[in-house]
Amino acid sequence: MLDTKGICSGYHGVTVIKSLDLSVGHEVFAVLGANGAGKTTLLATLARLLPLTEGELWFAGEDISRVSPWVSAAKGIGYVPQEKGIFPGLTVLENLFVGAMIGTRSRDERLDEVIALFPDIGARRNQLAGTLSGGESRMVACGRALMQDPKLLLLDEPTAGLSPKYVDNFFDKIREIHQNRGVSIILAEQNATKALEVADRVMVLSLGEASEVMDAADVTTDKLKEGYRI
């Protein structure tokens, strides 16, 4: 579904992601790594928000190395950034509606599904998104991306800084999104234990370089901590 061939990217001449080869299929794929490892940089690059300095990016059989972010979004890549994932001056409902500008299914049908998935945001549909709590805005950001009917969802630390109960709940949702809606997911995470529970395969980034890709079932948090110091 998504393949990268030796991609490099970064900021103003600083290369953060160094020659990364990746092949993600129909699965939940976790990218682990410590602070500053380059997870956000990688996901923003896959979402086409950062330019590739080298390499190729393929999605669903098409070369998207040079396309604009709106094109890759229209092709089916949904992106939920780590921060600022909502439009604060729009209501919750309007935030969800701006996600539904592409795709063919009816807006209300998609809305019903998203609200069934996240009942909490349904109850706050007319609230300004800028006044939501951290957890609620993550749900809105995720719901907005799902309104785009993506084939692949890029989730950048969706549960950082949230309470344990919320974290458990959100990881259940991730599994549900993958299984019930058939969406592939690339998940950037620091929480190795939770990521291993939900992911099919994992990869560890450190200083922009990737480890080999492992089956989540074959590794434990302790092994990852030992081997990669995350």
Binding site: S68, G89, L90, F97, V98, M101, I102
Partner: protein, 319 residues
């Protein structure tokens, strides 16, 4: 029906206020929704006015077109030229931050002013140029002609307001707000935000150019003093005054500023005659500036407030 009570000045003041509402409504989309502070409004307004005048007067239109044929063709050209200028300026500023946008748009208005002064062969320079009114063949007299163009301007503003109201409730309007609030995120919504901004600027500028052209027609005369910064200020102060949360914002705001000052104060207050030439225009700018500061201090969302915010408070209030 007698129209004696309608002084020429009152008609002119109503016309100016209506035109300012039109400009403020177009700014509403650019600044109010998409967060692009267009400080070059008068540049597009002036370009439309001059483009109309130049096409009307300097082009040797074939006689077969008649007065109205050449008038409408010149008007269409004015709209096209302003729209293209909007496209160009939109392209220049689309990726800039606030201060870049300010310099870019303000610079455009300054260039238009300088061109109006310097390109004497086309514009008549500082003296300006007289432009014919296509209504003159009817021999109606001055006042009915002015009333006719006032009506045209009001219709134009109603049209613009209708368009703004439509945009407000449309997916396109939500996209504009999204772009204004969080552009990086808006880029990943699957719609070309760059193109959205260009279209916004091209359409807005074409509209401002049309308002300018109708101004020129009504005045029968086009000169650089008509395209000073106060045109931009009046639209901007009006919009900020009324707020951008509602379609009525620009209308209420302009009525409270330009309307109050140019109509109520100047016509109905017993002011000494000697004030009109120099004192009043200066006082007008001072009062506008002071109003702007007061509104920003006490009602930063405009006198009408923010409809969205009110809704939220209501919800919180009811438990």
């Amino acid at each position: 029906m007698s129209i004696d009570w309608l002084s020429a000045y009152l008609i002119y003041a109503l016309f100016t206020v209506a035109g300012t509402v039109g400009l403020a409504q177009l700014l509403h989309l650019q600044m109010g929704l998409a967060g692009i502070g267009n400080f070059g409004i008068v540049g597009f307004f002036g370009l439309g006015m001059y483009a109309w005048g130049v096409f009307q007067v300097r082009i040797p239109w074939p006689d077969a077109l008649g007065d109205w044929g050449s008038f409408f063709l010149s008007l269409v050209m004015a709209v096209i030229v302003s729209g293209l200028a909007g496209l160009l300026i939109g392209w220049v500023i689309a990726d800039l931050e606030g201060d870049g946008v300010l310099v870019g748009t303000l610079g455009f208005a300054t260039i238009m002013y300088s061109l109006a002064l310097s390109e004497k062969r086309w514009t008549g320079g500082a003296e300006g140029m007289a432009v014919p009114d296509p209504l003159r063949t009817f021999n109606w007299g001055v006042k009915p002609m002015s009333l006719f163009w006032l009506g045209v301007m009001i219709l134009l503003v109603v049209g613009i307001t209708y368009y703004v109201a439509r945009v407000h409730r449309s997916p396109y309007g939500r996209l504009l707000i999204a772009v204004g609030q969080n552009e990086p995120l808006a880029r990943s919504l699957g719609k070309p935000t760059f193109r959205t901004k260009l279209i916004l600027f091209a359409l807005g500028s074409a509209g401002m150019g049309l308002v300018g052209a109708v101004f020129g027609v009504m005045n029968h005369f086009i000169r650089p003093t008509e395209i000073g910064i106060e045109v931009t200020l009046a639209a901007m102060v009006g919009l900020v005054m009324g707020g951008s949360a509602r379609v009525w914002g620009a209308i209420v705001g302009v009525l409270l500023t330009a309307g109050l000052f140019d109509i109520v104060v100047q016509i109905y207050l017993p002011l000494p005659d000697s004030w009109y030439q120099i004192t009043l225009p200066v006082v007008r700018e001072i009062v506008f500036g002071a109003m702007l500061i007061l509104v920003l201090l006490w009602r930063p969302l405009g006198v009408l407030g923010d409809m969205r915010r009110d809704k939220l408070v209501e919800r919180l209030g009811s438990g």
